[in-house]
């Protein structure tokens, strides 16, 4: 243990105790369950694991459904996130603060409540029910409903990443681009996007993890018809209800594996983000260097 951090606040034995406590907390609450998923999933053997995933048509469908719903929801939220962040970070207008507070709503609303609201609009007895029946469009109990519900719960993730970054960088580069003759799209692709790419990636990674793992809102909206409207998390629950624990664990392990990939990606991206934030600080403060010698390569 380094001495600097323990000279004034805590003694060595207490520090050791605290570290042990922290490790125990994280270990018991987080690590043990994580390890248990993989252990239980592979306990019957890899062959059985593969069997549960690839040879069960309903499970296969669930995997496919998750892979088609989540990316669409993420794509919608990426477009929304970029647009909303640009609007809020670069312009001032009446109602701006109210709009920003709306972005946070999906975070605090229970997913079940969100799903219910969607059902109230698109369900058979809902607001648009008769219209949809007349048009023979299915929203709830169907793919569009799943996308809607997933989009709702992941809405804040991209925009909340982008707003601080856009505000920190400031509009000067974009103003410079405009003064040099760039059109809106030219400015956006050549100047804005390169500056926000890591924050954007971070938001997309988080949104994707959330979208693939969403349960409550999708549960309400899907009608959880096996083989048709069950996403992977719903499939986990269905198998659990059917007392098919090993199969349930197998699907869960895929989701857990995805979560680990997400965390690794997140870690790498955050590293880049921190480096860029440091560069921003350095650029702000180092304007007055006299020497013309180059600094280390970025």
């Amino acid at each position: 243990m380094s001495s600097r951090s323990t000279t004034t606040d805590i003694s060595q034995p207490i520090a050791a105790l605290l570290v042990a406590a922290a490790v125990a907390i994280v270990g018991l609450l987080i690590v043990v369950p994580l390890v248990a998923v993989f252990a239980e999933a592979f306990a019957p053997g890899v062959a059985a694991w593969w069997q549960a995933l690839a040879h069960d048509p309903d499970t296969r469908h669930a995997i496919w459904l998750s892979l088609t719903v989540a990316p669409v929801a993420v794509a919608i939220n990426t477009v929304f996130g970029v647009a909303a962040a640009w609007l809020v970070a670069r312009f001032r207008f009446p109602g701006r603060s109210l709009l920003i507070s709306f972005f946070d709503v999906p975070f605090s609303v229970s997913p079940v409540v969100a799903g219910l609201a969607i059902v109230l609009i698109f369900g058979r007895q809902g607001l648009l029910g008769p219209t949809l029946a007349w048009l023979d469009w299915k929203v709830i109990f169907s793919w569009p409903g799943l996308v809607l519900a997933t989009t709702f719960v992941t809405l804040p993730l991209v925009v909340r990443e982008l707003i601080p970054v856009m505000e920190a960088i400031g509009p000067d580069e974009e103003m410079a681009a405009v003064s040099l003759g760039a059109s809106g799209w030219q400015m956006f692709w050549r100047v804005t996007v390169p500056n926000i790419r890591w924050a954007l990636l971070h938001g997309i990674v988080l949104a994707n993890a959330r979208a693939m793992g969403e349960f409550g809102a999708v549960y309400v909206v899907s009608g959880h018809i096996a083989g048709a409207t069950d996403t992977m998390p719903l499939r986990v629950e269905k198998l659990f209800q059917e007392y098919r624990q090993p199969a349930s664990m197998a699907v869960a392990s895929v989701l857990a594996g995805l979560a680990l990939v997400t965390l690794v990606a997140k870690f790498v991206i955050e590293h880049r983000l921190a480096a860029e934030a440091r560069d921003l600080e350095l650029a702000r403060s180092a304007d007055g260097t006299t020497h013309d010698a180059p600094r280390e390569a970025a």
């Binding site: 681009a177 003759g181 050549r190 650029a283 304007d287 007055g288 600094r295």
Partner: protein
Amino acid sequence: MSIHIRHVTKTFGSFTALDDVSLDVADGALLALLGPSGSGKTTLLRIIAGLEHADSGSIEENGADITDLHARSREVGFVFQHYALFRHMSVFENVAFGLRVRKTPDAQVRSRVEELLRLVRLEGLGGRKPSQLSGGQRQRVALARALAIRPKILLLDEPFGALDAKVRVELRQWLRRLHDEIGMTSVFVTHDQEEAFELADRVVVMNQGRIEQEGSPDEVFDQPATPFVMDFLGNVNVYHGRVENGRAFWHGIPIDYPDYPHAQAREARVYLRPHELELTPAADGRQRPGTSLSARVVRVTRSGAVTRVACRPHGSDAELHVDVPTDTARALTLEPGSNVAITPRRARVFLPAPEYVI
């Protein structure tokens, strides 16, 4: 390319940045907008560039009304205070940006960028990123980038404000030489009087959204039109005296002021620059009585070739600052406590708004 600004007003919420400002910029001039923060100089510059829009008034360029023209179509070269270089592009791509968005062919882009990098003495550094450059180098990239599109007018927002003193001096001289070679109409914003005087053909002194005075550096310094200009440019001693019968009275000493021939005495503020006062030892009998002020030296500060002597006139609490060439100061052996006589050589008198004289 001449610019005519007519009656421009700009407010931000309840703050008036520009209040009915009119200005003419002659073709080929190098003009400085000089003033303290909040004077509106940066706002005016940005309005010329199209980066802000005036609430009212108009801007003309060579006779064409460009008030509503968007910034990207104005063909101005703007150099931002903190350079605003595109951080993820190389120096080359930064300079090439204006050309690329106009879809200029590659070969042309390359030759123009290289020409500009040579001009700003950064040849060979095209591959670097802005984060790898010093402040002075970034400044030059920003300049090259602005010049790449052959703008009709060059606008610089506090171009040297963020740099070390030595780099600042070098770049100032370099910019002046550049302007002399190219002859492009240029306007720059600064709060540094020295910078404005060294670089500009004409100086526009601004304060609180208005133009206080416009003229050559000499005109503005020697014939300040308002107390603000006098005070802002260089140091000044202020005395609250009076005018009467064609004379202004400074510490009781009369100075000719034919602009006020009336017998009715009026309050006036008398401004003297430190170098407009002459200092002689008190014992020197050459002074005519009634033309000089006796004082005691409080402090002597040497600043290079000029020595600033702070004196307190006898019978007064005020402190007068007199600038004396260092050689003269040495010859006079001035010390705190010595008695001296101060003679005014030139003064500027400002009368506050008249009250009713019945």
